[in-house]
């Protein structure tokens, strides 16, 4: 990955100065970005990652946003992307959280050490005051050697001043020892990349054909000492009163108060996504808008051009047509769910609650071979396993990602499927509902524990910053939701088209029927289900809720219903999720995951059938 990739991607005029916005996570960077660039914003997917970089124009300059990071390095995807954008910067606008100077100035000092001209927006000045922090702004500017402008971004205070100050950006006072400075000046590399090479960044070293140096710790300690020195000089802490927000934040982590709070949040999530979006909104978009209006419309057009019964006709507008099913599913069903989920997730993220949930559930997930962070893909999985599979990238190690992807595919029913399952199981009474939930939960826990035991290596440990709780800014939540939903559709849309083609072809040539006959012994013999249930399972491969929906047409006893629902939940996920798995993991791993969940699904289904 070259640092120039981003420039080609975003199509920046050669001569324009690049202003790069940099800051720790949740410091209000995007408010500055929106203010600087107005509406002329371009969002591009950064090569090789799921990360999007927003770019826009401010007068004659190009403004680039970066993901929130704690330093310029390569601990994860976000940092690698931010690092490459920062390396290409002409000017950096560094947004600093006034409440967390000690943390944020580490990044600031690192950028100053790289010799990039910087302007600092000292944001959250109101919160700093509420917390009894008295910050000497001019002293801070003097110590760092760069302009510092106090701001309260959500209220628009100081935004204009920062914009004006971009032209006054300065290279500040480096924190490095003479020895490091000498070494830097002797390197045949520009200072920015040279410094990162000394800090042992393997990517930067590799692309310059150098061996990474071993000076990270030495340099980090010099930087930390300098930052501590500065903060001691500029901060005056009036009171040490613990605020209500701080207390609330701690209650969220403490199990006795945190678990009830989490349950309330999950219930709100269920009401919003599971009831409002999945039923009311999707009922309208999928049922009325797409199936009711769009599909008849497109069929009437295509009918005039192609014979409906021909293979081409079926491929385009048949039961699993590219223009009918694929379009309806992508936009009518998935899009509302994806938007709903990202709205909720962005709220959780911007309020600072998410890392606290991660801390609260860390213990449980550690025993399943992951760490607290894995709660994010797991929550997302209830919305859509495909999307959740993509977010497993945020987990620290390959081992954790494999476990998370397996558990997602195995035991987390997606929202569309959940709707059908609830509809089928609710009339049977509470007993069957409990049997269903308990079986799925047991399988989830046992599989996680098993994988944790047999997979080599161990999981990474949790080490996360708990940001202060805040009221999220709605425009920011909307912007995040828009960006993430758009890139999801870009990724999942083509997969649905491929899936639609595959199934149409399989149906056309009788492959679907043949498979049905082939698996009948398992369905009838082992699972004790009616023969026709096989069709539902095959359909379940295409789409999970399809499979579940297929079961509604069958006459089954309550036991058969529960057995078939358990099997279809544990069964492989839909085509879209499978394809994403191949993309995220490898062919070998994905096939292992599929066979693993097939075997688990049928074994567990059969056992439940025998017990009941």
């Amino acid at each position: 990955m070259d640092c120039c990739d981003i420039i080609h991607q975003i199509d920046i005029p050669e001569e324009a100065d690049k202003v790069v916005l940099v800051g720790n996570p949740n410091v209000g960077k995007s408010i500055f970005f929106n203010d600087f660039t107005g509406t002329y914003v371009d969002v591009s997917n950064y090569p090789g990652t799921t990360l999007d970089i927003s770019s826009g124009k401010c007068k004659d300059k190009v403004v680039l946003d970066t993901p929130g990071v704690y330093g310029v390095s390569s601990f994860n995807d976000e940092e690698r992307v931010a690092r490459d954008v920062i390396l290409s910067a002409d000017i950096v606008v560094n947004v600093v959280d006034a409440v967390h100077l000690e943390r944020d100035l580490f990044l600031t000092q690192q950028i100053i050490d790289m010799d990039i001209p910087v302007v600092i927006a000292l944001n959250m000045m109101d919160e700093a005051q509420q917390n009894g922090l008295d910050i000497d702004v001019s002293k801070l500017s003097e110590e760092l050697g760069v302009p510092v402008i106090p701001t309260v971004a959500p209220e628009g205070k100081g935004l204009e001043e920062v914009k004006e100050a971009i032209d006054t950006a300065q290279k500040g006072e480096a924190s490095l020892s003479e020895e490091v400075e000498t070494e830097l000046s002797e390197m045949a590399l520009n200072r920015r990349e040279g410094l990162l090479n000394l800090e042992g960044d393997i990517h930067v070293s590799a692309r310059n054909n150098l061996e990474p140096a071993d000076k990270k710790e030495e340099i980090y300690q010099q930087r930390r000492r300098r930052v501590n020195e500065i903060t001691e000089k500029v901060i005056n802490q009036a009171t040490e009163d613990v605020s209500f927000k701080t207390k609330l934040g701690r209650w969220m982590v403490r199990p006795i108060t945190g678990i009830p709070m989490l349950l309330v949040a999950l219930y709100a999530l269920y009401e919003f996504i599971g009831v409002f979006v999945a039923q009311t909104v999707v009922g309208f978009t999928e049922g009325t808008l797409f199936a009711g209006t769009y599909e008849p419309f497109i069929r009437s057009i295509i009918k005039n051009l192609v014979a409906v019964d021909s293979l081409l006709g079926k491929l385009l507008i048949g039961e699993f047509g590219i223009l009918t099913m694929a379009v309806t599913y992508t936009f009518g069903l998935l899009l509302p769910l994806v938007i709903g989920f990202h709205l909720f997730l962005s709220l959780l993220e911007d309020s600072g609650y998410l890392p606290r949930i991660a801390a609260l559930v860390d213990r449980v997930l550690t025993s399943l071979g992951m760490n607290g962070r894995a709660i994010i893909p797991m929550l997302l999985g209830f919305g859509c396993v495909t999307m959740a599979t993509i977010t497993t990238r945020l987990l620290g190690s390959k081992r954790e990602r494999i476990i998370a992807v397996f558990l997602l595919g195995l035991a987390i029913p997606c929202s569309a499927q959940l709707g059908v399952i609830v509809g089928l199981i609710a009339p049977l009474g509470i007993k069957y509902f409990i049997i269903y939930i308990a079986t799925i939960a047991l399988v989830y826990i046992l599989s996680g524990t098993f994988l944790n035991r047999v997979m080599p290596g161990k999981s990474t440990d949790l080490l996360i910053d708990l940001p202060p709780l805040r009221w999220p800014k709605f425009s920011n939540v909307l912007r995040k939701t828009y960006i993430k939903s758009k890139s999801f559709i870009k990724e999942a849309g083509p997969i649905f088209v491929v899936g639609a083609v595959l199934v149409t072809v399989m149906q056309e040539f009788g492959i679907l029927k043949a498979i049905q006959e082939l698996v009948a012994p398992i369905t009838v013999g082992w699972l004790e289900l009616p023969k026709e249930a096989a069709t539902a399972f095959i359909m379940g491969i295409v789409r999970r809720d399809f499979g579940a929906a297929g079961l509604t047409d069958l006459a089954m006893t309550p036991v058969q219903t529960v057995v078939s629902l358990i099997t279809i939940t544990l069964f492989v996920p839909c085509i879209a999720a499978m394809m994403i798995m191949i993309k995220e993991r490898s062919w070998k791993e994905s096939i292992a995951i599929w066979f693993g969940s097939w075997i688990t699904a049928f074994v567990v289904g059969g056992i439940v059938a025998k017990i009941l």
């Binding site: 967390h100 580490f106 860390d362 213990r363």
Partner: protein, 77 residues
């Protein structure tokens, strides 16, 4: 004594952090060997929340067991 042994409200000094990567990440958050911090919260069997000024960091239990500390006192609360 390790970080896993502290109780909510304990004030202590971090003496040793194992593993270079963890040390680097902790340094960025403002915590290093020699830092004086306190325990804001402790999840039973789970992470320890360490606080310094207004900065809070959750440290997983396994990791906490490897971080050595020196107890200095307790907040009077």
């Amino acid at each position: 004594m390790t970080l896993a042994d502290v109780k909510r409200g304990d004030e202590f000094q971090i003496t040793t952090i194992p593993e270079e990567n963890i040390r680097a990440q902790a340094l960025r958050f403002g915590i290093s060997e020699g830092s004086e911090v306190s325990c804001a919260e402790k999840v039973p069997g789970g992470p320890v929340v360490v606080t310094r000024n207004l900065q809070e960091i959750a440290v997983g239990r396994n990791l906490a067991e490897q971080i050595r500390i020196k107890l200095q006192g307790r907040e009077d609360k």
